[in-house]
Point group: C2
Chain length 289, copies 2
């Protein structure tokens, strides 16, 4: 069996940002912590930490840390029946799409985290990468728009996000003076989240245009809205993210009748403990819109 | 010399999201486009595209695309003196810290992009990774808090971001009922942007605490604010990002007198053309605060 005191030392070095601080937290000398990490690396046959000014987990180290946190999560369930074992630092690693995190996620899971003391390690990934990381055991759950279940995991629908093509009024006046025409699509700068974001392509295809178009790439939900507000381009934005900007007229609909509803699915490992099951109940109860 | 019609085909396949659409854009058949990509891969000795449902550039392909866009940027300068050569699809790849993108970036560079037609390919990286990608030629510029210049690049200071430890009022009441004590630091859940984010550690160290502490990891500026609003934790947030939340009392200062000023530096390659030089002037004129 794995020697968990080695993993615990690894987790503390990463969390505290150094060997010395981890030693203080463990009541050990810096060299004793260093020795635990070395022992772990010898057993594993590869480094678990990159020794930079602030030590960082290597991919192998990260895998170990994820396992460590999964074990802590299971220990957490155990401590519900055996309170003497209770500790409160379990952290669950979740892959999530950026727009959910920038909008409804906090308000839906906040109360649950406060009540349960659950800590989250959120990673932003598109669905392909998120589901792959789940398959590899690197994350415990994944929120994305794919309904393809992973073997050994459950998949439940938790709601829908409605996207609309939005822009600033001055952008509309300069780029779409004659309305949203196919001719304008090839010229008007758009904003696209990243190379895997197909929402803009789907909008244009639905309106009869499939050619190239100038676009900025902006992998930040909030940054995306800021570029649109600054008139740098138009793009597909979750309606719920910009209610005040729409009310104030700072953003307007590029194509008033067009909306794209993106379903959201929650993938999580069976047998990963009560905390994830309860979180899943909370997500399903809320039914995101 | 590189055969740029092959790189152009690669860029279009990625931008249009497929071989057929790239062919339409080029006035070629799908198989002619496919042949160009294969020729490129044979010359390079490795794949440039991952053939998924939506083709994606491999790391080698991405390096080529970055070079392609740098050449396009230089062509853009040339077209100022030789207008007959003008095309408007140059895109500059910039590594940027998430908080700048979520706050002031769009409003500062928006006008310049609109006037010049410059397109941006933004990638969010912390400074270590951002500067490494710049050294490797993967990005043309990097905005971060490091003032260590890269050989061959210029480094100019563009301003400062002021961070404060903030939380919701109910979080303060439940986690810091007796004020911000060292004892509370080890128990109160914090929010940290990612493993390399040291702002929270610096705040606690300045207040005399260097041990471990429970924390969520949330690599999204907007998500970070949402988790704080939901009372899930407290954390270091740019003051300028949450002026309305502070005014409305939805967020309050955890430690009223504490502020951390993070300087921002702009690194860019010399000889990378007029567009970047003009953008640099614009950034320096604005002097971010």
């Amino acid at each position: 069996m794995i020697d968990y005191k080695l993993l615990h030392a690894l987790a503390l070095v990463v969390e505290c940002g150094g060997f010395e601080r981890a030693g203080e937290a463990l009541g050990l000398s810096q060299s004793a912590v260093s020795q635990r990490i070395k022992t772990l690396e010898v057993r594993l046959g590869q480094p678990v930490l990159a020794r930079q000014s602030v030590p960082r987990a290597t991919p192998a180290g990260q895998r170990l840390l994820n396992h460590y946190h999964q074990v802590r999560l299971l220990e957490r369930d155990l401590s519900d029946t055996l309170p003497a074992l209770a500790e409160s630092t379990a952290r669950v690693r979740i892959a999530i799409n950026a727009d959910s995190l920038a909008t409804w996620w906090g308000s839906v899971v906040g109360a649950f985290c406060r009540e349960s003391g659950l800590l989250m390690d959120l990673v932003i990934e598109d669905q392909d990468v998120g589901l792959r990381r789940m398959r590899e055991g690197d994350v415990a759950a994944c929120l994305c728009s794919s309904d393809q279940p992973i073997v050994g995991a459950r998949c439940v629908r938790v709601g829908t996000m409605r996207y609309r093509p939005l822009a600033s009024p001055d952008y509309m006046a300069s780029q779409f003076p004659s309305g949203v025409t196919v001719a304008a699509f090839g010229q008007a700068p758009a904003i696209v989240f990243g190379p895997n974001d197909q929402l803009q392509h789907r909008f244009m295809a639905d309106r009869g245009y499939t050619g190239p178009f100038p676009h900025h790439l902006c992998p930040s939900s909030e940054g995306f809205v800021r570029l649109a507000l600054a008139g740098m381009g138009y793009g597909m934005i979750p309606e719920s993210q910009v209610t005040s900007e729409l009310e104030a007229g700072a953003l307007v609909r590029v194509d008033p009748t067009y909306a794209l509803d993106v379903p959201l699915y929650w993938h999580y490992w069976r047998h990963s403990g009560d905390a994830l099951a309860q979180l899943t109940d909370r997500l399903q109860d809320t039914a995101i819109r």
